[in-house]
């Protein structure tokens, strides 16, 4: 937001690009969960674009992004976040868009020293090199800390009016919001990618290990954002929804997964992912019973529905006791 505003101050026409990787935090969880129902449902990128008076193009990069997540040349950060590869990928895609739409240069909101993996003095040139953007990439907020770029050398941008921000503090950025009377903005360092989330990364790792391949589809990574993921053994995993919002969302997957819910007590919908056999289904049913209103009952009826079949199977089970479910089962 600030980087755009900084170049707009110089009379430069800007259009925004927002890449959808499938791992974006905002929007999805708000759309699914009950507890997020009162949160603003705005898409922050769209909202920011509207505040700035610029067009925003949202680009689906789900397929191409898989290679970034699965084979990051520069490795991962603290979890499964391939930040440096991701940055190079996004700048490359932005450069492709720039050429196609005949724009002159690219700007990003990066700040030297703000992020340990992708925004250091040593690593920022890697993004320039690997994206193929050359000297058409300007980081307005910290431009004075970096070598002059082509737009500065050509006089399209006045370098003296660009920023010299560095480090993790947001003090100077907050001063700029005051200068430009920007009263509302996304939380600084709020994290917008599920790959930086420890719990999410554990679930994605589990998905890869259980399948024996580091592949995924959009539905896979969407479901990692939903419910409690419980894996009693390598044979199967159970996704137990946590509220009505998740139940409704998971219903959309009943044509792909075996699903379970209680017919005798209120309780969650659960999706079964793995090897379907009677032993696994009984254990899954006992887990589902444990998360419903019948958790203290002596017996709970669980309906089991199989994809693309009208008939259901009913099991009467004893809910799994707290001491029967090791903490390690919960991903």
């Amino acid at each position: 937001m600030l980087a755009v505003r900084m170049v707009q101050e110089q009379g430069v026409e800007v259009e925004g690009i927002n890449f959808f990787t499938g791992f974006c935090v905002e929007g999805h969880t708000h759309a699914i969960r009950n507890q997020d129902k009162n949160k603003k449902k705005r898409n922050n990128a769209l909202w920011v674009a509207e505040q700035l008076g610029i067009k925003l193009h949202i680009i689906d990069v789900i397929e191409e992004y898989k290679d970034v997540v699965i084979n990051p040349k520069h490795g991962y950060g603290a979890h499964l976040n391939p930040c440096l590869d991701c940055k190079g990928f996004m700048v490359r895609k932005a450069e492709e868009w720039r050429v196609e739409h005949k724009f002159d240069f690219i700007i990003t909101g990066e700040v030297v020293g703000q992020r340990p993996m992708s925004q250091t003095v040593k690593r920022m040139p890697i993004v320039v090199r690997e994206s193929g953007v050359g000297d058409r990439l300007v980081r307005p907020l910290c431009a004075k800390k970096l070598e002059p770029t082509m737009p500065e050398l050509k006089g399209w941008l006045d370098r003296s009016k660009l920023g010299d921000i560095s480090g993790r503090s947001r003090k100077q950025q907050i001063e700029l919001t005051r200068l430009w009377d920007i009263k509302d903005y996304a939380q600084p360092a709020g994290g917008c990618c599920f790959l930086t989330n420890e719990q999410y990364a554990a679930k994605l790792s589990d998905l890869w290990v259980s399948r024996g391949t580091r592949e995924y589809e959009l539905d896979d990574i969407m479901l990692l954002k939903v419910g409690r993921h419980i894996r009693p053994n390598l044979d199967f995993k159970l996704i137990v929804c946590r509220d009505d919002g998740e139940n409704n969302f998971a219903k959309g997957y009943k044509n792909r997964f075996v699903s379970l819910h209680s017919s005798s007590h209120e309780g969650p919908l659960a999706l079964f992912d793995g090897q379907v056999n009677s032993k696994n289904l009984v254990l899954a049913a006992r887990i589902v019973a444990r998360y419903g209103k019948g958790k203290h009952a002596s017996s709970v009826s669980i309906l089991i529905a199989r994809p693309k079949r009208q008939d259901t199977e009913e099991l009467s089970v004893v809910p799994l006791g707290v001491d029967e479910m090791p903490r390690e089962w919960i991903l």
Binding site: G27, H28, A31, R42, N43, A49, E50, H57, D60, M222
Partner: protein, 77 residues
Amino acid sequence: MAHHNYNLTGTICPIPVIRTQDRIAELLDGDTLEVLCSDPGALHDIPAWCRIHGHSITSAVQEPDGLIRISVLVQKE
């Protein structure tokens, strides 16, 4: 000028916006598009996208069944 319908139920943010954006790119000035969505976020996001790209929203409502119905008049420069 033609009227088009687009069912985006079952998709969640930002996919309804992306699909609407891509569909509008194929339409002509003066065409109308009616989008049906299940994600409540679409009620804000699709009109926001249309506003910044200069298209007109002729109606945007959440129906009693919770579905979102948005009508767009495509306006190209």
